[in-house]
């Protein structure tokens, strides 16, 4: 038996379900969303929930700014408290090079409408009184940045999408994508085939595998990133605090738990979602350096997820040269939650042949054919 769907979306994370949501909102419901595991089992259920607009590439700033505005309205749309807390992001500089870059970044961000500010270490300490500023050279701060509870967003979409009549199938792995010439014919799953001519690759850390099934090539590589949570405490931390130099970030959630992560610069490429001793030790040391009071605070849980990385740390969107109607929405390189509202909407618009509400041509996979693509510099972890 073979069934048919107008659009098959692979991946039930924030981007797969967000795209389904926007398709549904535009009146299109002939969509099936597939996930090999449970809903939100990928990076969407493992991330820090950070929403930041302080980026260094024009593309990322625009995506993040528009998305932040959309997140502000999402509680109402999904009729749920998504715990979006706009306590700002405090970005710390630890040497003169960083502080010079920060000045430039703020200028670019301000010119595009992000109201970030350049701060002295003393001003940073006013925002986080317990911060150890002995090695801090400068900082930037943007009040409208913040954190959100990722699972509520993803499940908010899932509930809405089902109400719209769109089918979400968890525990249904995609095994192959059958093409003829440059056309998609069907998607083979462990539970049978689905005829379709349109596929969305929202498979996060597995996106290169999915592309390969369709005979397309994308340069994405999965890299593990680790994260942890503490016991809940009364709020003592307003903003998310981050450092690019140390690769660390941490913030306090609405429930009082501190959530934080740190990237290992020597991490190898691969699908690995287990925790490591390296992380426990190095994260703890760095955290205590930043805020000595953390010494006595208890970590209760640690886990890992995948960054789906690209050579310029910017996402891959739109179609590919090899196959028609094979839409990419992947390669988020560790910041795919905060830009999801706008990229999901634009992906839905492209699928339906509508004028995209934001120009994303520069984010198509073709860009890597040029030798001079510019990399995003503000990736944490």
């Amino acid at each position: 038996m073979s069934e048919e769907a107008g659009v098959v979306i692979i991946g039930a994370g924030v981007n797969g379900l967000g795209t389904a949501y926007h398709l549904g909102k535009m009146g299109y419901d002939d969509v099936v969303v597939l996930d090999k595991s449970y809903i939100c089992s990928g990076a969407s259920g493992r991330n820090g929930g950070g929403i930041r607009q302080q980026w260094t590439s024009e593309e990322n700033i625009k995506l993040a700014l528009e998305s932040r505005k959309m997140f502000e309205k999402l509680n109402e749309e999904l009729e749920q408290d998504l715990e979006f807390y706009q306590g700002g992001y405090l970005v710390l500089a630890f040497d003169e090079d960083e502080s010079k870059d920060f000045k430039k970044n703020v200028k670019l961000q301000n010119s595009l409408g992000v109201e970030s500010q350049y701060l002295t270490p003393e001003e940073a300490k006013e925002i986080v009184p317990e911060l150890n500023i002995s090695d801090v050279v400068a900082a930037t701060f943007n009040q409208t940045d913040g954190t959100i509870y990722p699972f509520k967003v993803v499940n908010g979409y899932a509930n809405r999408v089902r109400e719209m009549g769109i089918d979400i199938r968890d525990h249904t792995e995609v095994l192959d994508i059958v093409t003829e010439g440059d056309e998609i014919k069907k998607v083979k799953t462990e539970a049978g085939d689905i005829k379709t001519d349109t596929v969305v690759n929202a498979a996060g850390g597995w996106s290169s595998q999915i592309a390969e099934m369709a005979g397309a090539e994308i340069p994405n590589k999965p890299v593990r990133h680790e994260i942890m949570v503490t016991e809940p405490y009364k709020r003592f931390l307003e903003p998310m605090v981050i450092s690019f130099k140390h690769g660390i970030y941490f913030s306090q959630s609405e429930h009082g738990n501190v959530v934080g992560g740190m990237g290992n610069p020597d991490e190898e490429v691969g699908v690995n979602q287990t925790g490591s001793l390296w992380f426990m030790k190095n994260f703890s040391k760095t955290l205590i350096d930043f805020i000595p009071r953390f010494s006595g605070v208890n970590m209760i849980r640690q886990w890992a997820g995948l960054y789906d990385t690209t050579p310029d740390a910017q996402p891959i969107l739109g179609t590919v040269p090899e196959v028609e109607r094979f839409y990419q929405i992947n390669g988020f390189s560790g910041h795919g939650f905060m830009v999801s509202p706008v990229v999901d909407k634009v992906t839905a618009e492209l699928i339906l042949g509508k004028e995209p509400s934001m120009d994303i041509d520069r984010l198509s996979v073709d860009r890597f054919e040029a030798d001079d693509f510019e990399a995003e510099g503000a990736v944490v972890g």
Partner: protein, 91 residues
């Protein structure tokens, strides 16, 4: 009678049954939806109870219930200790 299942996150049997009816019908999604098992005890007491409720409500046998991934540390540990050299792989 109200039966408390997860003491850390203050969840009753009714909360769990209601969530299962809404479609959060496996441990991983129940955990994330209700924060069940995410308290300081890391679900030591509530997860086995929730497993039983899941079997009862969904008609699945205990073997069909997917075990949630257990995540270290097994008990709350202060950062000062984790940062010290004493931690070994099994902590």
């Amino acid at each position: 009678m109200t039966v408390v299942i997860c003491r850390c996150e203050d969840l009753t049997e009714d909360d769990i049954v209601e969530a299962i009816e809404k479609g959060y019908d496996e441990l991983e999604t129940l955990k994330r939806h209700l924060r069940m098992g995410m308290g300081p005890c890391q679900g030591k007491s509530c997860i086995p109870l929730a497993e039983r409720i899941l079997c009862r409500e969904t008609g699945k046998s205990p073997d069909d219930i997917r075990e949630p991934t257990s995540r270290p540390p097994n008990k709350p540990v202060p950062f000062a200790l984790l940062a010290s050299e004493e931690v070994d792989d099994h902590e």
